[in-house]
Symmetry: C2
Subunit: 791 residues, 2 copies
């Protein structure tokens, strides 16, 4: 069964990701790729029968355990306890006994094994034909879904059919808590804390229904998982259910004649709470199960498709000429939807609910990379994610106070809102996350004109983050406003003065807060905002220092950056990347080497602060020292490469971000998908080749395709309009699918879009030499025929 | 017995430190103050009978245990294991039973209890008169010493005398390993590692002699402790000895008539090794005991005094007008001698062998603050300490390689040479320790013209540290040599570019290495040094960037420092100091607030890089932002205050450093003495009011006394001369006690000192306004009559 490492794992299709034969060598990767989630509940793509597995995973958004954060030398304000996502009760399990043999793909003979994620249906389908070691053949079909419509619900439709001979079948549908997991890492204390994190509070079996209630040992959070079943099969069937503290089981025994089928529809429901009682949670899960069973399997399938049809109507992207990118961008949008759709005032983690990577934490990734996509495709989810930030404001205020600051200091990484970063130079010091949140607020308000959000969520987030910047920075002797001692996006440079990205984003934050506060004087007054305070924000913004190196004609990433020694790339071997695993921070920090787009990200998000000439020079300069040791980098480089006319390079970077997980380029897809990179496929296409920028009610495009694409079409929502933009090499067509007329900008030219499509010309881009990257860190060239590419 | 907190603990005497009555409330402090050591073996001033105690402590230089260094987020090059000094077998114990009652100062009636450290005798004498709860009165006198002459040996002369009534006496002289210690701190893993760290390998009792051999569990180091005894008393005495794995015991029973006396002389010997076998160590200790017993108690006492007489002849400092300072400077010199005298190619820890503070590690303190004193008073010990650094060169080379550097990177903190710092921004990044080592080499060579040291130790240390700087820095576009991303002495500013102190010290290092290499071309060639390499050192030195802020007319501590926001001192309350316990590093790092002299230290050690006017301006500027949260700071501020003519302020700072431990000003004397502050008394007097500077064969003085001193006289050694300098308000007298004629400089005026004393005038210093310190951080004003001061 073990296959070539280089053979593609998945077929390239428009709307599906199919694994045509079982790749045990890629099982951990596939568990992430085939993960299903609705943002509230996530199930990794584990095999129904549980084994073999890479990593079993069932997650509930924000259900976490605590673990100690140790320090060799402690310091004031270091968080002492971290939150970490845990594998909750596994309800995916359906084990099968064929005569006397357990169904296990590693034994007997596997005739076929096909798994297919359908991004329009929102289901994962598995079809297997297998002969047991005792020579009994069965055909198994399972279809799994996590309902986007019914937040608490997942369901599995499991069919077994006898082929050739009659077989005795025993199917065990289970709930299992405290599954033993592979190696939990080096620290024995962490392992101890996370081994069997769930303490049983109740277990009950009744008919085909079983409920298990548990509590996380340290965090005290309570959860309930339940299952009930519909069973169809031959007349003679025996069913029994049982429960113990960590196991619930329904056992179905029958005998199938050739061609006869047993069908088990398993309804799964989950709930958790930090406050609700055991009986309340229990009842909540029972109710959710009743609702789902009432809807029935076919009803759930139909709801799922309807939800996704509506999503794709406003979000789909079509790519002609690069079928891998076509698949990848839909795959990315699908997983972003899965991560955000029903998070509903919970965070969107860096890995969604697809794996335990980064402890299940959310970072600035969400606001900076994921929310732009949701804002223009599924705006309600963007609002929900920001509403979650708003809910955590009391903690962020407390943290700001602890740090001697004003306003709110949002955590660099967290699940529930408390800072969980154990290394402050790349944690607490990365204050730019506050600007990301403010920026996401500004973007959402601009894109939706959602007045209620602005009043109830946006204003306070803007005010509190503005207050942070105002206190964090100061005016120096020359009256310039400086922000010293912070860390920008590039984690290979830390604790610097006047990071250009941070200062530009802080400037936007300050101005937006002043503007929104002035628009809501009464609400602002309730927050204690005076006209003196807004004036001081505007003044700080206007005086903001943006360092520029006249000698070299580029912006230093931060004050003094361009004086630093350049990293010795020539002496750095391929196996030395990522550098942080092979070189000390002290050496990385003091040299010109960039982990991820930082100044280049500033040029994307704050483009109006740079001239075209500066953008081109800066881009070339930072290309030479950016190593992309962060998966967040390529998408921004793609966007800026497209903007400065490096279209082929943009295509290369786009492929890197788009195929990161499908091709497991970072070798860690097993830990969960890179949700921000998923967003990068959309951004690379829409902001990159589409040149889409928006702000202050103005929606602009500057489309240009690389040679490898013949057509790019995307849909997006903006201020109650649904737009379709179709780009070909020499022209772009703008179409208004819904909503009132709107003024748009095409390559700097304004036009009004009413009911008829408008076609605008695209002039060819002047050719400039391709910038070079550090030796060995060039992106893979995107070939004309992607089918020859290997995984 | 508990006394007022404010009552002085010790009397002010010229040559002694006396505790006239037992202060149980200051027991932990007194254990440090009364610690005896020869640099190889150290015994805290615990009571003979072991209890009550603050912290029992017996230490062997460089005998350590390993403990894990944990990290919430790990990084490349972080040390995973730390070395920590451990309390070895306690040989100080002599327990006493008076009739049926154990002698314990907390019970019965204590008529008198007096302890006296005699700095000329090198002994600690304790005299007690006590009546037991059963009304039996005894007089106890114990005299303790750690031999400066016989490195492995300590001895106690213990007398008991019956007063009034006859008494039955049982004395138990013990060796106890794995004593239980008070709270070992929060981390349970650390506590576990350090609980019972010693594993018994052998125990044997024979006559009055007992030997215990142990091994440290994790580090594997082996140690042996032995005791033997001379006993004098009434005719009827019973003696028996016994041993078990962790306890050796000699029990002496007798009956004393009133006026009769039992005398036990206890000889203690210690040895340890990482390589030698159990029998070899055992025999070594037995041999040392035999030698000591052969010398006898009176012989040991005589040797001790002779050793100290010779020391004081070349080191004594006399102060008229401030008797506390008089006592303190001798106390400091005594403890510095104790820390360094017989360290002999082992390190000198920050706390000497007086307590477990800082894990028993050595830091840059030794080379920067302690070795200057030893260089001019007991030069052999300075050479030994540097020879130890030389021995650890292989580890420092390895560390440099791990960090991607050249040459040697010495550890920020260590016992045996491996880096043990768990927080790199204030550890690894503090590369200036390498310059401290080079500077100490240069100073020692200048002061001694020790050719052999230069060839065998000095050259290689200079070459390896120069190579480090050459690689650490780089020439920028303008050809300026920069050292980026390092941390200077001020630990409230970290990871900065071009720290002035670091760059000046690196410049000296580079030049000295080039010079010494050229003086020894063959030896240098053996180290691979070419003339091209020395040229590149000279070039880097000449091009060294020393930032200067023209606007403000001061040197910024590092590039950009003076642009930073000033700490809000007005809003910082007294209880917020030390700041590092109450504010996050991120906030300290990005503001103008200085933990300890940094730029001011540069002005002391590299005075020729600054004009007088710059010194005065810089001093004033940094006074305003220096909070002295490090005990290393005051002495440097004292020296520079004196240099810029702020003599009263210098006196205030001198008192702070001099009385730090005698008055327990930092409330942590219990953990061990601040050896560098001990050195500060000498430096404040000799380099401060004496204005002593030396280098390149030139010895210069610029003496000036504060109003509170009428005379300051000090002896020092320089190039085989013994000098006596006597300073009065209007004149200074220079006298050559030993050696050939020498040219000196007095306030810039050269003169030659031959056989007759030379008197030179001192002109009054022009009055300038006293600079101000941060609110509440002013040094205590030195009052005219110190006797009114309280502890």
């Amino acid at each position: 069964m073990q296959a070539d490492v280089d053979r593609p794992v998945y077929t390239v299709e428009e709307w599906c990701v199919t694994e045509p034969e079982l790749r045990l060598d890629r099982l951990p990767q596939s568990e992430s790729v085939f993960a299903l989630s609705n943002g509230h509940l996530g199930l990794r793509g584990n095999l129904d029968e549980g084994e073999p597995h890479g990593l079993p995973g069932s997650y509930l958004n924000s259900f976490y355990e605590l673990r100690p954060l140790p320090y060799a030398e402690a310091g004031y304000g270091y968080p002492e306890s971290g939150q970490t996502i845990i594998n909750v009760t596994n309800g995916k399990l359906i084990r099968l006994l064929v005569d006397d043999e357990p169904f296990d793909v590693r034994y007997g003979r596997l005739h076929s094994h096909r798994r297919q994620l359908d991004m329009r249906a929102g289901t994962l389908t598995r079809t297997v034909e297998w002969t047991s070691p005792a020579d009994k053949r069965v055909k198994i079909t399972s279809v799994r879904m996590v309902s986007l419509k019914q937040r608490a619900i997942a369901a599995i439709c499991y069919d077994v059919e006898a082929v050739g001979d009659p077989v005795r079948i025993v199917a065990q549908s289970e709930l299992v808590a405290n599954e033993s997991l592979p190696d939990l890492g080096k620290d024995p204390r962490v392992a101890a804390a996370l081994e069997s994190p769930l303490v049983s509070e109740e277990h009950v079996a009744n008919g085909t229904k079983v409920i298990l209630v548990h509590r996380a040992r340290e965090s005290g959070l309570r959860m309930a998982a339940g299952m009930s079943h519909d069973i169809e099969g031959p007349n003679e069937m025996a069913c029994e259910s049982e429960s113990s503290p960590d196991v619930g089981r329904l056992t179905v025994s029958t005998r199938l004649e050739p061609g006869q089928r047993l069908r088990i529809v398993k309804y799964l429901a989950y709930g958790w709470s930090s406050q609700r009682s055991r009986p309340a949670l229990h009842d909540q899960v029972v109710a959710a199960l009743a609702g789902a069973r009432h809807t029935g399997w076919d009803g759930l399938v139909a709801q799922q498709r309807a939800y996704l049809d509506e999503f794709w109507r406003g979000a789909d992207v079509e790519v002609d000429g690069d079928s891998e990118i076509q698949q990848a961008v839909r795959f990315g949008l699908f997983h972003i939807l899965q991560a955000g759709a029903r998070a509903e005032r919970r965070m969107i983690p860096a890995k969604g609910l697809t794996g335990p990577g980064y402890d299940g934490h959310t970072f600035w990734d969400t606001e900076t990379f994921v929310l732009p996509v949701l804002t223009y495709t599924h705006p309600r989810s963007a609002a929900d994610a920001l509403a979650w930030r708003h809910m955590t404001l009391p903690l962020a205020r407390e943290r700001a106070e602890q740090l001697g600051l004003a306003g709110a200091a949002f955590p660099w990484r967290t699940i529930r809102g408390q800072e969980c970063s154990g290394y402050w130079p790349a944690g607490t010091a990365a204050f730019h996350i506050n600007a990301s949140i403010a920026d996401a607020v500004v973007r959402y308000i601009d894109a939706t004109e959602d007045e209620r959000f602005e009043r109830e969520v946006g204003l306070e987030l803007l005010v509190c983050t503005a207050r942070l910047w105002r206190r964090l920075g100061h005016h120096d002797l020359e009256g310039v406003f400086r922000i010293d001692g912070v860390t920008g996006p590039d984690e290979y440079t830390a604790i610097v003065d006047n990071n250009v990205y941070t200062n530009l984003m802080a400037r936007r934050n300050l101005r937006a807060a002043a503007e929104v506060a002035m628009n809501h004087p009464d609400l602002a007054a309730d927050l204690g905002v005076s006209t003196e305070e807004t004036a001081s924000w505007r003044d700080a913004a206007s005086a903001m220092l943006i360092p520029y190196d006249e000698r070299m004609g580029v912006h230093p990433q931060s004050s003094g950056f361009t004086n630093h020694s350049r990293w010795n790339f020539a002496a750095t071997k391929a196996e030395h990347y990522p550098l942080l695993l092979n070189f000390p921070y002290f050496d990385l920090y003091r040299k010109q080497v960039v982990k991820q787009a930082d100044l280049v990200l500033a040029m994307h998000l704050c483009g109006d602060a740079f001239t075209d000439e500066q953008k081109a020079r800066n881009f070339d300069y930072y290309e030479g020292i950016t190593v992309r040791d962060s998966s967040l980098s390529a998408q921004t480089q793609a966007v800026l490469a497209a903007e400065v006319g490096q279209l082929e390079l943009a295509h290369d970077y786009l492929a890197e971000t788009a195929l990161l997980d499908l091709h497991d380029l970072a070798h860690n897809t097993r830990d969960g998908l890179h949700i921000a990179s998923m967003a990068g496929s959309w951004s690379g296409l829409v902001a990159g080749f589409g040149g889409m920028r928006a702000g202050h009610g103005s929606l602009r495009f500057a489309p240009r395709l690389p040679s490898g694409m013949s057509r790019l079409a995307f849909r997006m929502r903006y201020r109650d309009r649904l737009l379709l933009v179709t780009i070909r090499t020499h022209a772009a067509t703008y179409e208004l699918l819904e909503g009132a007329e709107i003024e748009l900008v095409h390559h700097g030219e304004r036009f009004t879009l009413v009911d008829k499509p408008v076609e605008m010309d695209i002039s060819p881009v002047p050719s400039r030499p391709r910038p070079s990257q550090p030796v060995g860190r060039e992106p893979l060239p995107r070939r004309a025929d992607p089918s020859v590419r290997t995984n």
